[in-house]
């Protein structure tokens, strides 16, 4: 197989300087690749190593066409040669391999063999293989939006193309016409799984031949010149046409998948021999000598130079500092915006109450006017007068245009993943996504959600995904499964994300503003049953702000503390009012507003006063977020308690569609009242 492209690079005509530079890079990459297992044998590190040998030519080519200033490279875990060719030094490769604090990818926080250098646009990617295709598409969207020079280059093995999100990424790039190059390095195996068990076509790129606006180039990834020509053509095409390209490069895997694999268990001797014969570096050297482009002596001198270089890098790597265990809490989440006008997130505004939906719509528009680098997309986001499934974003596209407000395909992971990608382009960018039509449709996006929670920590603060994920959440609408459930309990188990869940219009406005001005990711839960509810409507001061991690006491009391958020805040206030009227007790209702970070101080201060606590939320009691609140109280406030901590929430069942079933599952004012009475009687 040879690429059907213009032959710019040939053995007889390419400048000698380039040829020798390539030979040097190839030998340096191979030396490091061959040396990596030694670090594990000596218990120094590099416990994960996926050898690049056999992929050398295409990896050299990826790195050589990459322009550090304008392009963005998303390598995968086998891309040692790619990263070296793209600009990492031998020392930087080793620092990553043995997970040192000075590892430029992220100070030893991410797995070894995951090379990156965000400073020069070589991005730090996941080991969830292939999911960076979505990030490449996201940043290509930014390149196109800002009419900038450059392309995004994503690299992966052919087996990871089986992942659904890769289809979503390529489909999106094809549909949006984005300058992305997807390189498939085809070595025939996904660990031990042969590609016949992955897809029907032997060349997986063929599966995409029906897509519009997409060019596919097949090349010999073991041949330096064919790989160089293919990548040069791919970049030229992507830049000139502003459309995506797939480069399918045939490679061989000379060694096992990684150091935890033994390929002799599934490859016969003949195969193990012939993959050695395909060695791209040996072929390149033969060509250099055969066509008198370099002498054996010149090449031997480079070999010696490489040997010395690796020795120096090795010494520098061993001497580098290891990460400080005290640093684990650094860079969990990027700094949040600190409200200036309303530092505690309260106000005394009077006047016309606004509905929660109006608060959200108004705040979105105000923040879009304030920051020209603000974008929003999601399903049902913008079609004439339709603006979001519940019309929260109504009028945004008319005012801010199609480049800033647009529909996404029905692909939640794509919505989330391209947000993660686009946010990389510029630190001023703030992205809001409607993560799904309903919060409980968010599950397909979970892998990108998890990925996004890792970014800031994994890169040691080098990349902060500045994203607000809006999710219409909760029940009381007769929606049943995928329409009436809560997911915040599950999401709260991931470090690296803030989660807020307002109950009233003013807090909704204030929290959304703070989210959109903050760095890092915030999940913004919207209690959809309250969008138009008069009880949630409030006056809202201009530019109202609510800090994260600051609860609001919605009803003061002395006999019992109820800790709640979202839909159930109103039920708790109603139950408290009723019990107060009866003279059964004076209950304090704390609306958490933010569940992550949690305002432990306000909760403990209240319990000091009341000595009793009831935790109420709409999500399931079993393994719900209330369990964390209860454990925190038990840990830090046990001495203040005169009664057990009780919880009210949903049953440990799905939410039924029939209204009778829904009512049986979800908490309500009566259930809260019963639990409150029980605690008051202690």
């Amino acid at each position: 197989m040879k690429a059907d492209v213009q032959e710019i690079y040939k053995i007889k005509t390419t400048e000698k300087e380039s040829l020798l530079k390539w030979y040097h890079l190839l030998k340096l990459g191979r030396s490091l690749d061959d040396k990596a297992p030694n670090y594990l044998r000596q218990a120094i590190g590099w416990s994960y190593h996926a050898p690049a040998a056999g992929h050398d030519a295409i990896q050299l080519a990826i790195g050589q066409v990459f322009d550090q200033e304008h392009d963005h490279l998303f390598p995968y875990y086998r891309d040692l040669q790619t990263c070296l060719s793209a600009g990492l030094t031998a020392t930087e490769i080793i620092l990553n391999g043995i997970s040192k604090d000075t590892d430029v990818a992220g100070g030893g926080r991410h797995m070894s063999n995951h090379f990156a250098k965000p400073e020069i646009n070589i991005h730090n990617v996941s080991s969830c293989t292939g999911n960076h295709t979505l990030h490449a598409v996201g940043i290509a969207r930014a390149i196109k939006t800002y009419e900038a020079k450059g392309v995004a280059i994503s690299s992966q093995g052919e087996s990871s193309v089986s992942e659904g999100y890769v289809y979503e990424a390529i489909n999106g790039a094809s549909n949006e016409k984005l300058p992305v190059i997807f390189v498939f390095q085809d070595n025939g195996y996904g660990i031990s799984v042969p590609k016949k068990d992955q897809t029907a076509n032997r060349k997986v790129a063929k599966n995409f031949e029906g897509m519009k606006n997409l060019r596919i180039i097949y090349c010999n990834g073991k041949d330096v010149f064919d790989s160089m020509n293919a990548m040069a053509e791919a970049k030229k095409h992507a830049e000139e046409n502003q459309t995506p390209v797939i480069v399918h490069a045939n490679c061989v895997r000379i060694h096992s998948h990684s150091n935890s694999d033994r390929h002799d268990l599934y490859r016969d001797k003949a195969e193990l021999n012939y993959v050695q014969e395909y060695d791209p570096i040996a072929k390149f050297r033969r060509l250099l000598v055969r066509y008198n482009r370099a002498t054996e002596e010149e090449l031997d001198a480079i070999d010696a130079e490489v040997k010395a270089e690796v020795k120096v890098a090795h010494k520098a790597g061993l001497a580098a500092p290891s990460p400080d265990p005290e640093s684990i809490h650094d860079f969990v989440i990027a700094p949040s915006y600190v409200p200036q006008k309303f530092p505690d997130g309260t106000h005394n505004e009077e006047g016309e109450p606004k509905k929660l939906i109006e608060a959200l719509n108004g705040t979105l528009k105000e923040e879009f006017r304030r920051n020209p680098h603000t974008y929003i997309w999601g399903q049902d986001m913008a079609n004439k007068d339709k603006g979001g499934i519940f019309n929260v974003s109504k009028g945004l596209q008319q005012e801010f245009g199609h480049k800033r407000v647009f529909n996404a395909p029905i692909a939640e992971d794509f919505i989330m993943g391209t947000a993660n990608g686009m946010a990389r382009y510029n630190k001023d960018i703030r992205i809001v996504v409607e993560g799904a039509e309903f919060a409980d449709y968010f599950w397909p996006a979970m892998e990108q959600f998890v990925e996004t929670t890792h970014e800031y920590w994994r890169t040691k603060g080098q990349y902060s995904p500045n994203i607000t994920v809006r999710l219409a959440s909760g029940g009381y609408i007769g929606g049943g499964l995928y329409h009436s459930q809560n997911i915040e309990g599950a999401l709260s188990t991931f470090p690296g994300v803030r989660i807020v869940y307002p109950s009233y219009a003013d807090d909704a406005a204030g929290l959304l503003r703070t989210s959109m001005r903050s760095e890092g990711m915030t999940v913004f839960m919207e209690p959809k049953a309250l969008y138009n509810a008069p009880k949630a409507a409030t006056p809202i001061p201009e530019e109202f702000e609510v800090p994260f991690g600051k609860a609001r006491i919605r009803r003061e009391g002395t006999d019992l503390t109820i800790v709640t958020y979202g839909n159930t805040t109103h039920m708790c206030v109603e139950a408290a009012d009723k019990l107060a009227k009866e003279g059964a007790g004076n209950i304090e209702v704390i609306d958490l507003r933010s569940i992550v970070p949690l305002d432990t101080d306000t909760v403990l201060e209240s319990i000091k006063k009341t000595s009793k606590v009831l935790i109420v939320h709409e999500d399931k009691v079993f393994a719900g977020f209330g369990g964390e609140v209860a454990a925190t109280i038990s840990d830090l406030g046990f001495e203040y308690l005169d009664a057990p901590v009780k919880r009210v929430g949903s049953t440990f069942t799905p939410v039924g569609f029939n209204r009778i079933l829904e009512a049986a599952v979800l908490p309500n004012t009566d259930k809260i009242e019963v639990a409150a009475r029980e605690l008051l009687s202690f």
Partner: protein
Amino acid sequence: MKKIGLFYSFHSVKTKQQAQKIIAALGAENIEEVNVEEADEATFKKYSNYILAVPTWFDGELPNYWDEFLPAVEDGSLKGKTFALYGGGDQKGYAENFVDGLGIMADFIEARAGKVIGFTSTEGYEFEGSKAARGDQFVGLALDIENQAALTGERIEAWTEQLKKEFK
């Protein structure tokens, strides 16, 4: 018939066996064997008639030895020279690229004004795609040891008979 330069890899196994059958059929006196791994431009230019052994490697690639040799002759003309091509492929394992190598080589020769002879019928093969296929003919002799080993002898016999007429 002028002397034919039979270019193949002396390190190969199957291709070498096939080369020996071809030599036997055409007569050793009519053939000069050349190890393509060591061939240079001067050796190549010596002949007017050629048989090139071009097995297909992997998913439709030329063997390294051809990849490495072709730059030597890529800038010259092959006008007045006649080539017959044969090579192995695997129509089941690599159905999308069956004997692509023959097609790649034929394109290379024709782009430099060389003449390719010895076309054979695609009948009797089952494959999905091939750069060697032009309509219902291959641009040379396609051999498939993996799936149709029993047919190799008779295919070579018929092809060499054809070459006797087509080579001048």
